[in-house]
Assembly symmetry: D2
Homo-oligomer: 312 residues x 4
């Protein structure tokens, strides 16, 4: 993780600046506030602001249910009920704002989650730092044979060395040439006063997709959970999963009841189709069902077996 | 405004419950927190939670501009620039959650703003109170002759009396019959143990559209401003404008710089079309332009004259 | 269902007006186009326009997968895969526009689906017809004892008669008084030239919530499926379920492959939580699990049993 | 523009496949359907599908206005009125689906428009072609001195040659190394059976941001106009403006009345703030107002002068 001294000083200053509020605060999340959780080699996630807590979910649900909820006395039970039945609107009443530093190719996946607010560092205005993602050797893997969009075996040392050297060399050269194209008096090592320099909005196209960018990203708890359901999943690309993992820690500190309900009813749950449920009924009746007579395709049958074997 | 004792006690309790936070707080908004601002005869708006302040807008804009903003030293200037040029994403970094009590026909207009989160009191679960909106006599107006969707002259006393008596009688009878249909042991005056009572989700259809409902409504500052631009406008129906007016007060307490910029660049601004700008250029060159030779339709010409006469 | 003669003539005219297109057309949906499918006593759903078909889903998925999909040769298989794994974006490439006539209390539930476009008949501009929903006797039910937001037993004849008479009388009186308040020369039976009449935007508040309104509603296929998943569910209120049922017919005509996949993987599926899956594993291992030793709450245990018993 | 033979054949086949429909068709847009409009050096925009036309806007507005619109007899007038007053919902009733090929750095700007549906070619599944954007010499410009995010003077020939050679060399080397990292039997020139090859989802990070990607992009007319208002603006980066220009052509063919109204009331319009309107009133009264006594900042004053001088 690379935090500039300037950023460090800002963080410390912000953490000194206490105020009194009538809003609900969450001590465990306050302890994390502003501080970067490191992700990948130079990335991070920092909580900048938040609104609401577990009780805000309950409060919103109780407005909906009005007098009808007098008997649902326990918060955890209500939150678990809401999560299980996908009554999602009460979760929208909480919001969180993160500062994220991430490689551009990860940012391109992330931004597909449309129900969020984003302010990204603009390479039209400013010059991007010489920072790019290089995977740790244990994350350098071959194309999966089984899954067209996944990774398979980790690369042997020799090939991993070649890969890393190539990624590094190309990223460094592209960034060095980016600075040369910019010909910026302050930033470009070989600054030449005789040249005009290329506009920033153009020069940036020379950078590689592992260059780090950063943004403020704000979303509500419902959409955060949806993000985590997709991105903490083992099928998600490792690099975005690493961010999801840090965000799960934040979730646990912020809304512990919703976090546990999320693990039980979303991350650890399995959706079984009507044909799968028919097979399951036969199995529960004591029949030994094999794929060919299951009525399921091979793929579906193995998905069902995986769901039943899953230890969440 | 009708606040139950229970609600009053909750408000006072919430206002006693101070905590320390590292988040930015806004003293002027804290002073309003939880307290109902009365609107119409029984409605209100209460701020329940918020996130961010004027400085959060600036902070988000500066992430976008990166090092490029070193020179934009003044917050107010930056916020005004963002507002003028409709750079709206930094305003999305602030959020506010309101508790609103409002007549159903107003709720139906309000809900058309889709980029918000809502938890409404559910009449499938609970029984609606006997509260309905009756306009003050000065708001009882005839259909506008000029504007197919507006109001014209205020009604004479005799007609106003007839209108109010009719509205009141129909609302009361509908609510009384609603209770009779429900046949609820606790709530229905003529409760008859021999009858089953009609399900709540059905009985509610007997209520009139001026019955009050309530909801939690959360939105970000950008979408709040969009709401206010449309609903604080003189063309908006008076009843929703009354809510917008209360929300403008909240806005002024919460983000005073954004509020002033909003008055100058949005509420007080006029959008002049290309044909209008052509007429304006002729006028500035000293020509006296009349509608027939303006190239504008009668309607557009009068809209231009109104914009030029407008004293914002 | 009440279609005016004017509307009937428009429908026939629209159905005469054929054109040639290079776009994909769906014969089974063309057969339905413009024609109202009756819902409830006066409501309907009409398809006004559509874009895309099953092949558009496949095409969009194949752009994503690029050369990677050469082997996924069968459209149905790909659509089923997408549905099962909630790869939802290809479904967004299809869109449909409906004309719906529905009671206001149903419209209030419907509008909570935010990702859609709506143009509603405006009672600020125009006068609403004297049409209101009166349930058929078999849909007049008592409040459910088990479910705080549901219906229980159907009412006995005597109580049903009382309910219907009340609903009818209040709706009729409210509408008659609405016309009296408007005092419209063309529409109000007791028009009195000496009175101004009340503005439409105010007079409408006197109407009951079972009054019919109408709108154009446009959404994409992904959001339509989400709507149907929630509103064709047995827990949805009967009245909106009646619309969902008509829309399922439209779905079957429009995108038969997506429709079948939706029945198998969404409507007929069950989401089993991590704790439920643990119980299921014990049952499959031959153990007889009862609720008290299941680790599930009573409610969750009975939900699991219901999912296993469900015959979709 | 680079269209593969396969794509060309698909386009011709699609253009042979006529069907009869009861939906509204637009002859001028049918003439463009499927055919790529070239943008930049290898990019294009193709219309794949559409729904609605000018009359669909009118139809939706008339549902809203109900009987109230009997007198608004002319479609063009109504569309102009809707555009002028930002009554945007009727425009949402039309939708269009485009196939776009564009450099990744343009795609990153484009995707910030959230109210749209996207299916992008996935570099997790498939291998990206060796195609990257190289600006034409007349678009190679220096950083603007006046505008921190814009371009200034076009570069001299010598510097332009250096820039192009650098961009080309880095993009080619990055792509060649990308293929080497993949070590794909079919695609990598130096394929080595002894190596595993790096997973696609990782290798792609070595590509430069001017590499072309492609996607299907579907939006409604309202959001398309919003996109064009921002991206056809002279402040938008040239490269995305080039796409906006092609899309304006499509707009003119599809909805000619809305297109003309858009030019007059949106692209050619100016929003004048309350302080600007005060200055304007003094000018119209014959006063000669200079910036120092205008009450406007230098920047705002020059923006006002620009709006008044603008010849749209």
């Amino acid at each position: 993780m690379t935090i500039t001294r300037e950023q460090e000083a800002e963080i410390e200053a912000a953490r000194e600046d206490r105020s009194t509020t009538l809003r609900r605060s969450v001590a465990a999340l306050e302890a994390l506030l502003y501080r970067p959780l490191p992700v990948l080699d130079h990335g991070f996630v920092r909580v900048i602001d938040y609104m609401g807590d577990d009780s805000a979910i309950v409060q919103a649900a109780r407005v909906s249910y009005g007098r009808g909820t007098r008997k649902v006395s326990e918060d955890a039970g209500l939150i678990r009920y809401l999560m299980r039945h996908r009554h999602t609107t009460p979760f929208e009443m909480c919001a969180i704002k993160l500062h994220v530093k991430l490689p551009i190719f990860v940012a391109r996946q992330w931004i597909r989650h449309r129900t969020a607010s984003v302010n990204e560092y603009s390479a039209r205005y400013s010059i991007l730092d010489r920072e790019f993602y290089l995977p740790a050797p244990e994350h350098l893997a071959a194309q999966s044979a089984a899954n067209r969009q996944g990774r398979g075996e980790v690369l042997e040392t020799a090939e991993a060395d070649f890969v890393l050297a190539t990624l590094r060399a190309d990223a460094e050269r592209s960034h060095a040439d980016y600075l040369a194209l910019l010909n910026d008096a302050a930033e470009s090592p070989g600054y030449d006063p005789a040249r005009s320099g290329l506009a920033r909005e153009l020069a940036r196209m020379n950078l590689t997709l592992n260059t780090y960018t950063q943004w403020y990203w704000k979303t509500d708890l419902h959409n955060l959970l949806h993000f985590l359901e997709l991105r903490a999943d083992p099928h998600a690309q490792y690099e975005i999963r690493a961010y999801a993992k840090a965000m799960l820690e934040i979730l646990a500190a912020w809304v512990p009841l919703a976090h546990q309900a999320f693990l039980d009813y979303r991350l650890g749950a399995a959706s079984l189709s009507a044909p799968m449920l028919r097979v399951l009924r036969r199995m529960l009746a004591g029949e030994r069902v094999e794929q060919p007579d299951s009525g399921l395709s091979k793929r579906e049958f193995s998905e069902l077996m995986a769901a039943l074997a899953k230890d969440a």
